[in-house]
Amino acid sequence: MTELIPVTSRKDWMSDQEVRWCPGCGDYSILAAVQLLMPDLGITREDTVFVSGIGCAARFPYYINTYGLHSIHGRAPAIATGLAMSRPDLHVFVVTGDGDALSIGGNHLIHALRRNINITILMFNNQIYGLTKGQYSPTSELGKVTKSTPFGSLDHPFNPLSLAIGAEASFVARTHDMDRAHMLETFRRAYEHQGASFVEVFQNCNVFNDHAFEGVTAKAVREEMLIPLRHGEPVRFGTDGGKGVVIDAQRGAHIVDVDAVGLDTLLVHDEARTDPSVSFMLSRLARGPYEPTPIGVFRAVDRLEYSAEVSRQIAEAQAPAGPGRLEDLLHSGTTWTVD
């Protein structure tokens, strides 16, 4: 029996709270994309929960008319794990930022991913700490001058997708705040995936790190600088698809002129490949958002989903003789009776 899902519009998914990001912040366009997508997912608002940690991105749950939990710094994946494990009937989203997910909450992120619990993690990467007013983040580039690094950052940055793929996440994707259609499609895929999905969203913080991704996301350069990944198709980009990606034993993944090597040599994207090494190589293709950067779904593989497995074990334990009885439990050790 399929439940009837009432038809909703974007407005139904907007909460009554005033949105308080800085004017011009990339978060607005991500929020709009999510609110636009939700009515199309065939789910109800009451069965949807947004969980977040701390940071600008973490205010997201207040603005969307579902159940929402704004928790503490870095812990959203852990809290969402408990919720998704105990309530497999819910649709659990985690909204996080680069500091929240990769710095203070790095441990929870990798474990949620390897455990493959059914949550959808949207990580807004703006390569800066916004809410605490402009310190460098774990994704800030080496040498970045910020309030806490007046002489330039000495920290080698994380590549979020490499990290997620290294943790053997079953769904890994990247999109950016300047392309609504791409966000909608990527978020939809992430939601539909059974297991933990990880989406990095390039997000502009116009106050503390303006133009961080402009080198690849600005309309004028996109064609040359973004490499769209499409399952089953050769990886190519640029004017008339003139450039492409090949993998060879010596140099790993690298960019070539299609004319020079021929179309057949190009890597054909296979997001369902169980072995994560090719998607890992793709995640290493750009050293930062100033080199041609792949976007789209890097990896989407089938793997046992954690909460379903937990439910299965419970069902199997109950199958032979039904649920446990307290009376039996109390008498399960050695007992003796005094008259």
Partner: protein, 637 residues
């Protein structure tokens, strides 16, 4: 089994004892915990009252034969009600020189000392730091020493089974068990049956253990080393069905019972830590009860997942010990702010830092009180005996669910691993802990709109409305930022913050009306001193108070199971007596709280040695305190 039964006929003269304390000590690899457990179970089945104290090292296998590797198990059995594992053992079984050296000073003067003579070779003596063999040099003259070649007798007993000597020697603990079982006329059938079931998959080990146990038993009666066996009669007990239970098992069952009684599914988020891990292990077995357990990536994720589950309508639990309490502090603050039911179980151990992981201590009381930033009060419940851990878990859950608040449940290493007979409750008599969730809007806005306000409170309990995800129309957003009174929306308003701080405090303080008043026992009317205890000191305090009263002094005692809020009559009770003394396994944390809260001159007896108070040392402390002119309430009144 008749080969044993037929030798224990009525013609054997036995001497009756009202109680005996036996301590088994050996190398970590010698199976002393198992030996003690079996002796305990046999005694429990026989009907004795009993209390146990396992005492093992933090290292899984310290180098064999060294002092660091000594593992001991003390059991006190009696024909009457007892509350402690006993002060000085009457009998010490030492399986090697290290065990002897570590433990012999505990043995009562003239006590019975049984040693595995075979283990007293030069190498083992050196490892234990002996320069001369203590069995020969007269240093043990103050004890009744029995030298039993346990290893070689065991080897001989299993010879014909074809067991390799190395493996055969492993059964010597069962030889010791057989011998002590004969000495104290324990019924043997249950132990034999246990060996058969436990080792049914390994027939050779099973047969070797059976042979060793029987050989130890037979040795007792035929060797003419011992004059006669002893008997400790069953203790009179209330009718009913009993089981012998450790604190951690009782606590686990209490959680399962709380889940059943509240109709909330149980969720445990936990990270392995001594001495709390057994709760994770035990709960993980009970999938039939629909329990979901998560061995999280760290302590923070353990409580985080429990909070997530609580938000979804589960009875969320996290279990830990001291170091984990520190790590969970921020998340506890979130739970205080979210006002969701949650149980935080702290099985205390020696601190600070890694401290003494396998030794007991109760020094987390102030952490439980104050170990979060901001004004973040939460209720604290403490168990006082192994079986009470069951009831304490139920009570903690009752408060958590009814008041929508995290509750800290304190136990400790001694209660966790110690055991005692427990009169099983009837399931139908367990309390109903069911709660109601919001299903419809609870507030009308000025514009006439029907809305759900998650922070609208029940006027009696001040508990907030709880709507579960999945409930249509009640979607709402909550978090760790300060919330507007009622609506739960983010509010930075100063007056609102002050109101919310007071509301959260008032909610917890108000629980005092819903918990039992403290009961005073002993010389209620005219005691010279009131002893105030909490946690696992109960048994020792009970024993000490009886002893001091038997000497003609007037003593009263009370034991707190609710530490926050305090029972409503506590202040009045404390002021009733000229002196107040608080024994604690810390440097005086409760006494400090009592002084601060009630302005009474509460004295303090402390013990930081990693082992529980004995009744004897508390007896001495009480007498000392009574004779000291320095303390008392008079000056304050």
């Amino acid at each position: 089994m008749p080969d044993i039964a037929e030798h224990t006929g009525p013609e054997v003269a036995t001497e009756r004892l009202d109680r005996v304390v036996i301590r088994f000590a050996g190398d970590s690899g010698d199976g002393m915990q198992l030996t003690g457990d079996r002796f305990t179970d046999a005694s429990a089945l026989f009907g004795n009252d009993l209390a146990t104290l396992p005492d093992f090292p933090a290292e899984i296998r310290a180098p064999a034969g060294t002092l660091a590797g000594v593992s001991a198990f003390q059991v006190h059995i009696s024909d009457h009600d007892i509350t402690t594992p006993g002060d000085a053992p009457n009998v010490l079984v030492a399986m090697n020189p290290a065990a002897l050296r570590n433990e012999v000073s505990r043995l009562e003067g003239g006590g019975t000392l049984i040693v595995n003579e075979d283990a007293f070779g030069e190498r083992n003596l050196t490892k234990a730091g002996y320069t001369a063999n203590p069995l020969d040099d007269g240093s043990l003259d103050g004890y009744t020493l029995y030298r039993v070649p346990m290893s070689s007798l065991t080897l001989r007993a299993v010879e014909e089974l074809g067991v390799k000597p190395r493996d055969a020697e492993r059964s010597k603990n069962l030889f010791a068990l057989g011998l002590v079982s004969w000495m104290y006329t324990r019924p043997v059938e249950e132990t034999l049956r246990w060996i058969e079931t436990k080792f049914s998959q390994k027939p050779q080990v099973r047969d070797a253990n059976l042979a060793a146990f029987k050989a130890g038993h037979a040795f007792g009666e035929t060797a003419e080393l011992f004059d006669h066996p002893y008997a400790v009669d069953p203790a009179p007990r209330r009718p009913g069905t009993y089981t012998n239970i450790t604190g951690n098992t009782a606590l686990t069952w209490g959680l399962l019972a709380a889940s059943q009684c509240s109709h909330l599914p149980l969720f445990l988020g936990s990270y392995p830590i001594t001495p709390a891990s057994d709760i994770l292990h035990e709960l993980s077995k009970h999938k039939r009860f629909g329990v979901r357990t998560l061995q999280a990536e760290d302590e923070i994720a353990g409580i985080g997942a429990a909070i997530g589950a609580a938000y979804g309508g589960s009875l969320g639990v996290t279990t830990t010990s001291g170091p984990g309490m520190a790590l969970k502090a921020e998340a506890m603050g979130l739970a205080v702010s979210l006002e969701l039911p949650l149980l935080i179980v702290d099985i205390q151990r020696g601190g600070p830092s890694t401290g003494l992981p396998t030794k007991t201590e109760a020094a987390d009381l102030l952490t439980a009180y104050y170990g979060r930033h901001g004004e973040s009060p939460l209720p604290i419940v403490a168990a006082y005996s192994p079986s009470d851990c069951f009831w304490a878990a139920l009570e903690a859950a009752r408060i958590a669910i009814k008041y929508r608040t995290p509750v800290i449940l304190l136990s400790d290493g001694y209660l966790a691993n110690g055991s005692e007979p427990w009169l099983l409750p009837a399931v139908k008599d367990l309390p109903d802990l069911s709660t109601t969730f919001a299903t419809s809007p609870n507030h009308t806005t000025e514009s006439g709109e029907e809305v759900f306000w998650p922070y609208l409170r029940d006027p009696d309990t001040l508990a907030r409305a709880w709507a579960l995800p999945g409930t249509p129309g009640l979607m709402h957003r909550i978090g760790g930022l300060e919330k507007e009174d009622g609506s739960g929306n983010i509010s930075y308003d100063a007056e609102n913050h002050a109101r919310m701080v007071h509301l959260r405090a008032a909610k917890i303080a108000g629980i005092a009306a819903d918990i039992p008043e403290v009961m005073v026992s002993g010389d209620v009317e005219d005691a010279e001193v009131l002893i105030v205890g909490w946690g696992s000191t109960w048994g020792a305090i009970d024993g000490a108070v009886n002893r001091v009263r038997n000497q003609g002094r007037r003593v009263a005692s009370t034991h707190l199971t609710h530490l926050n809020p305090f029972p409503r009559n506590l202040g009045e009770v404390l002021r009733r007596y000229p002196k107040v003394l608080v024994p604690e396994m810390n440097l005086g944390q409760l006494s400090r709280l009592l002084r601060a809260e009630f302005l009474v001159d509460a004295g303090s007896v402390t013990n930081m040695r990693g082992v529980p108070f004995t009744a004897g040392e508390l007896e001495e402390a009480i007498l000392d305190y009574l004779s000291s002119p320095r303390h008392g309430n008079e000056g304050i009144r």
